[in-house]
Symmetry: C2
Subunit: 351 residues, 2 copies
């Protein structure tokens, strides 16, 4: 892949172009010893968050994400809920208990005060509900026309006894906690506008799935932490991005069963109408796990007991010389196809 | 002050309007117990950074800042150097030793790859020079026209044995480490454009003072930490903002001597031409300290020995019923005037 003279939307899509540009402009320029603190995790192994070893033996979990979602208000939530939930979930996916947050708000001159008030109220509401402290941040205004409305960047801080460093093992079962792609479908519909999209939103009452997953992950990790070999929330790039990352990093092939994947019919048909694979659509309230096979069924039962009744095994991790690093899907018709990692930019400003 | 229906530039200036909007939309909505972690520091006492108590007795120092400087390249540096130095300095001003950083880059579609490459190279260069690890971050692209070029948000993480919580004490001497207002003057000149400004920049060879202050603060805090009652870098709102904050929080009057303040003649005359008080101009490589009077001279001598030859005592902290919370300046003509906190927006996107 030759290198571009200008930034393209695809570079921010969270797919292969994002990985490539991060490697070229950042990761390759940082010396190995400065990619992490001590025996922790940093950009040497890009995961949901970084982990810094503490003298006590615990790890400090730190994650940072920018939220540029367009529109800032959407069915099911707003950029405030998203910014709080997203970083809380990244801490959780690392096996951490969220403790504190910092937030940077950059807003366009002329933005309605009431809207900003609603957004921040939503944001603080999530923190309140989670018992997460707000300990710092920043606030800046861009002259009119120099920023479209608002960007929120959040830092989530937590503690983990033992961070979950995503390396799936051969034999693992892949579990998803809920329907996938709801958030991405809603944002896609909004951005496309038009009759078809608006009709979808109205008739289906489709809503973003955005929410913090504390009530799932904290008990799950507490009870089964040692058997969860990977955990991530499938945001930009959807389920496909997570599984392709995992297959690559573990040099395995991940085989998934299309008919097992929890997918709302409205999301499936909307994506179908647009010729988009719903497995590339973001979720903002879903956990994907790679679990030791001996306990997979028990984990599913436990997740159901926690209120996550749609949790399902959707596939497994296998060894393969030929397909190492790939994700293969057994289709509803019984055939097989390779599920490529996401490329290009499907929907900018999805989260 | 009535409340606005729309966000104004002044809300992001770092002055009184910023404090007001943060209080109304954020701080007043967070319950006291969720404003900090344990006996640490958070938004209950907005300082350079937050402090989280660790089991070992040390404190984790965490700071977050968004950098929106326009233009992204300026004499003396660029947004990359600024983003790295700014957050490193905030950790230092809290008495911490910088250890790690996370960075979020949000860039406009179409931004030249070479420019982004230079910016990130600068950024990583500062981290390398400081031995600070880069452990995480984010990268997003905004569609063309939805963001002016680039915004970088950084999180600085460090450790402090005892955080410097800014509360000046009666009798303290106020010390500045270097010439003030260089960065603000350069950015102001660039943004104004025009013959006068460009002539200033060319003739004066004025440059931003942006730089990390590790080689000043680490030894200074190591040796005199117990006698430094407040430390801050005077960025948005300049020296005036810092001193007004300090006078308010300590219910003292801070008296400064205009003729003592290190100010380059070019900055003084440029500000004078524009009718702007140079004490409102940002610095990005200066430390302002409130120091126990018994050691102030020794601290000055020590700062000189560290290479900060322009360090000076510029004023002192006093008790006053009438002027509690104010900053009073003894002018070069021998008179007195109140140095108001900054209001309105002098220069948007200054840092």
């Amino acid at each position: 892949m030759g290198f571009d003279k200008y930034i393209r939307l695809a570079h921010g899509s969270g797919g292969v172009e994002t990985s490539a540009i991060l490697e070229k402009l950042i990761f390759s320029r940082v010396e190995e010893s400065l990619k992490r603190v001590g025996n922790g995790v940093g950009i040497d192994f890009p995961d949901d968050a970084a982990a810094i070893p503490l003298p006590s033996g615990d790890y400090l979990i730190v994650t940072m994400d920018a939220y540029t979602v367009n529109p800032p208000f959407f069915p099911g939530g707003d950029i405030g809920v998203l910014a709080a939930s997203g970083s809380i979930n990244d801490v959780l996916m690392m096996g951490g208990k969220p403790l504190a947050m910092l937030d940077s708000v950059v807003v366009e001159e002329g933005f309605p005060m009431d809207d900003l008030s609603k957004i921040l109220d939503s944001f603080i509401g999530v923190l309140r509900g989670e018992g997460v402290a707000l300990i710092g941040g920043d606030f800046k205004v861009m002259p009119k026309g120099q920023l479209d409305r608002v960007i929120i960047t959040t830092v989530g801080i937590g503690l983990a006894r033992k961070p979950i460093i995503d390396v799936p093992r051969v034999g693992d079962k892949i579990i998803v906690s809920d329907y996938v792609g709801d958030h991405g479908a809603v944002i896609l519909a909004y951005q496309l506008g038009g009759d078809v999209s608006m009709e979808l939103l109205e008739k289906s009452r489709l809503r973003s799935d955005v929410k913090p997953l504390t009530r799932l992950m904290l008990p799950l990790v507490e009870r089964y932490g040692d058997y969860i070999h990977a955990a991530r929330d499938p945001t930009r790039g959807g389920l496909s991005m997570v599984l392709n990352d995992w297959a690559k990093v573990s040099s395995t092939v991940i085989v998934i069963d299309e008919s097992s994947i929890p997918l709302r019919p409205e999301v499936a048909s909307f994506a179908g109408m647009l010729g988009i694979d719903p497995l590339y659509l973001a979720s903002e309230g879903v956990a994907v796990l790679s679990v030791d096979p001996s306990l997979a069924d028990e984990v599913i039962t436990y997740m159901h007991s926690l209120g996550f009744s749609n949790a399902k095994v959707v596939g497994e991790v296998r060894k393969s010389e030929k397909y190492s690093g790939y994700v293969i899907m057994r289709t509803v018709t019984g055939g097989f196809r390779i599920l490529e990692p996401p490329r290009g930019d499907l929907v900018p400003r999805i989260c």
